[in-house]
Symmetry: C2
Subunit: 238 residues, 2 copies
C-alpha cells in the first residue's frame, strides 16, 4: 500500500516547516480571495494573476488588465475592484485577465511555489477540490492563508472539511488535520452562525459585506478547480 500524506498548514508563517516538493498544495482563503478566484474563472474570467504587493498590481495599469486590490477588507482606492465574489461574476469581467492582490491569499499563493501543483480551494468549490485530490496520488498540503499570518476559523474549517471527506485515502496525517476536522464538525450544521465567532467576520461586518460572507460559506456553487500555472504566473481554469 502506498503511503499518502495529508497535512494542514494553519498559517503561511508555518510554511517553512513543510516540505512541498512533489506535493499538491491547496491554497485556502475563504473570506474572500480563493472564493472569488473560483467565481471569476467559473464566470468567464480568462486568468487571474496573483501578486503580493499593491505596487505590483499598479504596474499592470493601462495594459488591458482589470486591477483587483484589497487590503484589510476594503478595495484599495483607484483600483477596478476589491475581492468581493460579486465583482467577479458580471459581464465586465468576461474574457478579461485580472491582476489580484489581497491581504492574505495572494501572499500565501506565492509561498507555495515549491509545490508540484498549486490549486485553489474554498467552500464554493469544495467537492471539486476533493474529487481532484482523490484522483491524484500525490501527498497533499492544505495551506490556510489565515489573517496576517495568524490562525483563522474559516480557512481551518475548510481544511477540516477536505480532510474529513478524504481521510480514508491517506495513511499519514498530522495533529492539525484532527484539529481542523473538529472545528469543521462543530461549524458544519451552521457555517454562517459559527463564523460569527470569527474575528474576520467582525471585520467584514463593520464593512457591511455580510452578503459576501454568506456567499463564500455556501458550499459547492461551482464545479471548478483553479490551478496556478507557474510558467505564466497566472491562475487558470483546469
Amino acid at each position: 500500500l502506498q503511503e499518502r500524506s495529508i497535512e494542514v498548514c494553519l498559517t503561511p508563517a508555518l510554511i517553512n516547516l513543510y516540505d512541498l516538493t512533489g506535493k499538491i498544495v491547496v491554497v485556502i482563503d475563504v473570506l474572500r480571495a480563493t472564493s472569488s478566484i473560483c467565481v471569476g474563472l467559473a464566470n468567464g474570467v480568462k486568468e487571474i494573476i496573483p501578486v503580493s504587493k499593491v505596487e505590483e498590481c499598479e504596474a499592470y495599469r493601462g495594459k488591458g488588465y482589470l486591477l483587483s486590490a484589497e487590503r484589510d477588507g476594503s478595495m484599495v482606492e483607484g483600483f477596478d475592484m476589491g475581492n468581493s465574489p460579486y465583482s467577479y461574476m458580471g459581464e465586465e469581467v468576461n474574457g478579461k485577465s485580472v491582476v489580484m492582490t489581497t491581504t492574505n491569499g495572494t501572499a500565501a499563493l506565492n509561498l507555495a511555489k515549491d509545490a508540484k501543483e498549486i490549486i485553489i480551494g474554498a467552500f464554493v468549490n469544495l467537492d471539486s477540490v476533493c474529487k481532484y485530490l482523490s484522483e491524484k496520488s500525490e501527498d497533499v498540503v492544505l495551506l490556510c492563508a489565515g489573517w496576517k499570518n495568524k490562525f483563522n476559523l474559516e480557512d481551518t474549517a475548510f481544511a477540516g472539511a477536505v480532510y474529513q471527506k478524504l481521510k480514508t485515502e491517506f495513511t499519514v496525517f498530522c495533529d492539525s488535520c484532527v484539529g481542523a476536522e473538529t472545528l469543521y464538525n462543530l461549524a458544519k450544521p451552521n457555517l454562517l452562525g459559527f463564523m460569527k465567532h470569527s474575528s474576520h467576520f467582525k471585520r467584514l461586518q463593520r464593512l457591511k459585506i455580510e452578503r459576501d460572507v454568506d456567499y463564500c460559506l455556501t458550499p459547492n456553487q461551482w464545479a471548478i478547480v483553479p490551478i496556478y500555472n507557474p510558467k505564466t504566473g497566472a491562475i487558470e481554469k483546469r
Copy 2:
C-alpha cells in the same frame, strides 16, 4: 471598563506575531515538560533551570545539579532523568536544583522572555493557573509549545480549557481561542481517549509511557503556579 485581551499562540514559530510587553505568558507543554515542572516544584524541587540545548544542560554537570534532558520523547543517555513526571516526585529530587532541556517546552520558555511574567501551565495545575490569571489584570498570551514548531492537540486543548474558564473576564480574544475551546469541548469528556488521535501520543506509545500520558492528562493534581524568574533564570514555586 478596562479592555483585557487573551490570545492563544498555537506554536512557538508564531510568537513573533504577538507583542508580549506587559503581558503574562503561560507556557504550555502538556506532554510532558510543563506537567513535570509542576510536579517537581510541588514535590520539593528547589528550582528548575530551563535551557534550550543539551550542551547547556551538560555544562552544569558536577556542580550539584540534577540534569534532566529529553529529546524526541526519550531521556538523553548519560543524564540523570528525562521528563517523565514520575521522575520529578521522588525523595532524590527533594531540595535539589534541576537543569532541564526538552524538545519543545524549554525552547518555548526562552522565547517568552519579553513578557512581564512567565508562568507554567498544564492540566495538572489547570485551576491554579486560572485562579492566578483571574486575580491579575494583565493581558494574557497562552503559548503552546507544540511539536517542533507545529500545532499539537494536547497543548491547544489545554489553552482552550483556560480560555473557557476565563473568557467572561476578557473583552478581546482571537480566532485561535475559539478554535482551542472547540477542541477542548470535544476532548473534555475523555481527555485520554481524545489524545489518542495525537501524533505525540503515538510517539510516546511507541516509547511505552502511557502511564506518563495518563498522569499528564489528569487535571488539578497540584495547587501550584510555577513562575519563571528572569533574574535567576530559574522556575520557582510562587
